[in-house]
Structure formats: structure tokens, C-alpha cells
């Protein structure tokens, strides 16, 4: 079942388009990660999905119905979706009163409220903190209480903005466990923004990548600044003093931000020079890092600029490439997305 369906959604702040989504469908009872560099529109999208800020243009359907952005009825929609902020705000009262707040807004009678709030605190392991002052909590505890407060509302959708970005390692593990628990045991959909690829891999069934406000393929990683220049036969983007990548996209000369999709990057060991894909241009580089990512291995290669690409485990083992090796790198011009500025 479709949970959210966004069509032509744009958000403009002070003349700047920060979000521009042609079409995006999110299914119910699933979990999504939102990834992308700072300023790519993750928080803006979350605020729209939480019905907190209407988009400048576009249509959003939620559970099949077009969202009406008039304030009068919006709180009924908001009661199905809760957003947990990166730095959650606690009301200046006790922890339990904070957790009860959503239930109070829904008119739940006081005794039932308390029991539900305590159950929610239990789920984040902070049952013992019920009567503490919420402002006295540490960052990690605050984050967990905020999750309990959202859980208590029994929403259909839970949105998280970088839930573990501002907490220490231990709380990070606890929070991830809670989110995993929410995802497994309930019909709740989870959508969370994160910088952490590993976290996204662990917690999300599907991943959405944003780049400069647009949904892209999983290429939100190789984001670089360069300059477009036009040669007689082709357009190139120069990055740093030595690297020049061919670009198929038509753009005026000048500074751009580019994103290179990892699947458009092929890495060959120094020996294997035949059968090269995409272009005749081969960049020389060095493997700096290999990281396990699910069943795949992410390669971090330095060709004068840092690039990340992904191989399957088998490909990686077969290639015989080791960290520190010198390699040849081919890049598909069609895998390069450029945005002016």
C-alpha cells in the first residue's frame, strides 16, 4: 500500500529551491533511509512529510488522500505521523508528562495515559526516569525520551532526523535497537535521515538519496565541487589540479557541484588493462579503504579526488584488489550528475 505519494513537490526558502521532487512513492509498513550531503533537503522533506511545513508547490497524497494544507484539519493528519528531531525539544516538566503529551492531545483519559507513557518509556529503557525533570537529561537520554514520546502516540509513521548524530556510541546502539524494534514489531513505517551509511544499511529496507534537493540514485556519495569547461568535442568537469571528467549533461561553463553514481565507476587492477568500459580515459588511483556494506564491499579510491564505488563481495575477492594497491579507474560520463553553483 502506498503511504506517501509526492508529485512535483518543491520547497522554496527565500528564493532558493531547497527541494524539488518530481515523483516519490513511499510504501506503508516499510523502512526508508534518507541520505545525502548537508543541505540536500533531507530535513526539509521530513518537515513536509510530518505536515509541519507546506511545500511551495506540488501535491502530496497520504494514505491515498490528497493532503489539504489548511491548518484547520492538519492536526488530524499530524496525529498519524510523528517527527523526532535531531536535537529533540523537551517541555520543561517531568519526563513522564512529556511522554504523555501526545496522548493528552488525543484526549486519552489520565490513567490510561500514564500506563501507555510508562510502557513507551520502558521500550527505550528509561522507565526509571519517569519523574525526572526532562531538561536535566543528557543528549542521548533526551533522544530516547523523544522516541518514547513519539511511540506513545502510536503513529502510523515515525520520522527521525539524524536520530544518532548527536549522541554517544552507547546511546547510538540503544537508539538503533529501538528503531529496529519499532520496524519489526509494528505496522509502523519508519523514515529516517542519516549521514551514516552503515546505519542506513542496518536499519532501512530501502534507501532514498537526495542531492541538491533532488532524488538521485544511490550516488549521494561522490559529491564534489568542480568547474565545467567546454572542449571542441566534449564537455568536461575539472576537479582539483589534475582531474578532468567527461560530462554528457549540457551545462554552461562555470562552477558546479557534481555527484558521481558509484555504479558508474569501474576499478581495474593495474595488470588488467583490456576490456575497459565506458570511455577511453583511464584514471590512475590508489585504493585507500575497503568497507563491508551488507553483501557488498565499498571501495574508497583516490584518483586525485576521492571516489567511492561498490563491488559485490565476490567481485572484490576475484579482483584480488587490496588496500594500498594502485588501480585504474574508468568513469561513465552518464553517471555524473551536475548542478550549477
Amino acid at each position: 500500500m502506498t503511504l506517501f505519494s509526492l508529485t512535483g513537490v518543491r520547497q522554496v526558502f527565500e528564493g532558493r529551491t531547497v527541494l524539488d521532487i518530481e515523483h516519490l512513492e513511499l510504501s506503508a509498513a516499510s523502512s526508508y533511509s534518507l541520505q545525502g550531503p548537508n543541505g540536500s533537503g533531507k530535513s526539509t522533506l521530513l518537515n513536509i512529510l510530518a505536515f509541519l511545513e507546506p511545500p511551495t508547490a506540488g501535491e502530496i497524497r497520504f494514505q491515498g488522500r490528497v493532503v489539504d494544507w489548511r491548518e484547520k484539519t492538519l492536526h488530524l493528519l499530524r496525529r498519524k505521523v510523528v517527527l523526532v528531531d535531531q536535537h529533540p525539544i523537551m517541555f520543561s516538566t517531568t519526563v513522564i508528562k512529556n511522554v504523555e503529551y501526545g496522548l493528552r492531545m488525543r484526549g486519552i483519559p489520565s490513567r490510561k495515559r500514564r500506563a501507555a507513557a510508562e510502557a513507551a518509556l520502558e521500550r527505550v529503557g528509561l522507565h526509571a526516569f519517569a519523574d525526572r525533570q526532562a531538561h536535566r537529561l543528557s543528549g542521548g537520554e533526551t533522544q530516547r525520551v523523544a522516541i518514547a514520546r513519539a511511540l506513545a502516540c502510536e503513529p502510523d509513521v515515525m520520522l527521525f532526523d539524524e536520530p544518532t548524530a548527536s549522541v554517544d556510541v552507547e546511546n547510538q546502539a540503544l537508539i538503533e535497537a529501538v528503531i529496529q524494534d519499532i520496524r519489526r514489531q509494528q505496522r509502523v513505517s519508519v523514515i529516517f535521515a542519516t549521514h551514516k551509511r552503515l546505519e542506513a544499511a542496518r536499519l532501512a529496507e530501502r534507501r532514498i538519496f537526495l542531492f541538491a534537493g533532488k532524488v538521485t540514485g544511490p550516488g549521494g556519495e561522490n559529491v564534489l565541487s568542480g568547474i565545467i569547461a567546454h572542449r571542441p568535442d566534449r564537455s568536461v568537469c575539472t576537479l582539483g589540479p589534475t582531474v578532468e571528467l567527461e560530462v554528457r549533461q549540457r551545462l554552461p561553463s562555470g562552477p558546479v557541484r557534481i555527484a558521481v553514481k558509484p555504479e558508474g565507476i569501474r576499478v581495474y587492477s593495474a595488470a588488467e588493462r583490456q576490456n575497459v568500459a565506458f570511455t577511453s580515459v583511464l584514471h590512475s588511483g590508489r585504493v585507500l579503504q575497503m568497507t563491508l556494506e551488507g553483501d557488498a564491499v565499498k571501495l574508497h579510491v583516490d584518483i586525485g579526488i576521492p571516489l567511492k564505488t561498490v563491488l559485490s563481495r565476490d567481485e572484490a575477492v576475484d579482483s584480488g584488489i587490496m588496500v594500498g594497491d594502485t588501480v585504474r579507474v574508468a568513469i561513465d560520463p552518464d553517471a555524473i550528475q551536475a548542478v550549477q553553483g
Binding site: H75, R78, V82, I89, F91, S92, M105, R149
Partner: protein, 233 residues
Amino acid sequence: MDFLSQSLAAALEMIWSLDDEMYFIVYISLSVSFFSTLIASLFGVPLGFLIAVNHFSGKRVLITILNTLLALPTVVIGLFVYAFLSRRGVLGFLGMLYTPEAIVVGQVILILPWVAVFTMAAVSRIDERYRYTALTLGATRLHAALVVAREARFGIIAAIIAAFGRVIAEIGIAMMLGGNIKGFTRTMTTAMALEHNKGEFVLAVALGIVLLSVSLVMNIVFQLIQGRYGVQR
């Protein structure tokens, strides 16, 4: 020092013996200041709150006007209200000049901008995300506004206390609109300023001690609330 200590002793004796005249003056001061503060708060707090949470054209202008009104000298307010209330004034027929009500009118004009501006500042200090948090947890707009007001409560109370402290100690309005009529509009400040050299020095000192005590208590409460407030944010 002899003269001062004698006056002090006599003044304390006057306070201790529950002197009727003195306490009636204190009573008039307190009740006038109470009603001024009450009325100014009833209008000023909602006004400040609405300005803080709403975006509208002319908001900046309105804030600038309120900030400017903060600088109104008491004697200017007194003169202005006098011009309306005097027998020759537009509202002269009300017969309000030289009544406690006239003082209240002037004092409300004095502190309403204060209450509004400081309420506005207190509410503006509350992070926008308090409202968003309330909304995402299912609050209606009204409930979200109440959350913000609740978070700003110490600031608002501090504003009201400061306003009370200001009117109880002011003299220009009380004198020009009340006229220092014994037993009717004679407040602590007007009595102290006008009577001490008519031989009522002991009364003046006694009133000074009471006024100082009231001011200090207000100040202590204000500082406590500010401290509490400061810790929390």
C-alpha cells in the same frame, strides 16, 4: 546623624504602631499599582504574545512603536492624560481628574508597553521547535500556542513583576493625575516627595521604609524568577 537616627526611630515606631494615616497611604499605593498592573497585563501579555507568534506586515513597525513607548517619561504621560481629563479637556465631563482611577489610566499607559515588549521578548526566546514539537505530537494550533506560553511563563511573570515595581515607585503620574489628596489619592511616592518638608518627615521616612521594602521584595522575586528562568534555558 542624630537627626537621621531620630527620624528613623520615629518612623519605625509609626510602622510598628500601625499608624492609620500611614497604612491608608500604603493601601492606596498598593491598590492603585495592583489595578494598573492587572489591566496592563490583561492587555499587554496577549498583545506581546500575539506579536511574538504571528507574522504580519507592519510587525517591525509595531515593535518599534512599542519600544519607543518604553521611553515615555512619566510626566509626559501625566500631562497628556491631564489634558484629556481636566475640566477643559475632552473627557473632563467624566470628573476623573484627581481620582485614583486617573492614576490608573496614566500608569496603564506607562507600563502596558513594558509588559507587551517583555512578554514578546520572553515568547520570542522560546525556540520555534517547541511549537513544532507540540504540533507533531498532535496538538492543535491553540494547544501549541499554550505550550509556547507555558515555556515562556517565567519571563512573562518577571515582566509583570517588573511592571508592578515600576508603577509603585513612580511619582510623576501619581502627582499630576492624583493630586496628592489626603486619604484619597495620596500615594507613598507623592506623600514622600511633597510632605516631608511640611513637617511630615517622620511619615515620609516611614513610607520610604515601606516602599523600599516592597521594591526590594519585588526585586528579589524578580531575580529569583530570572535565575530560575536562566537556569532552564
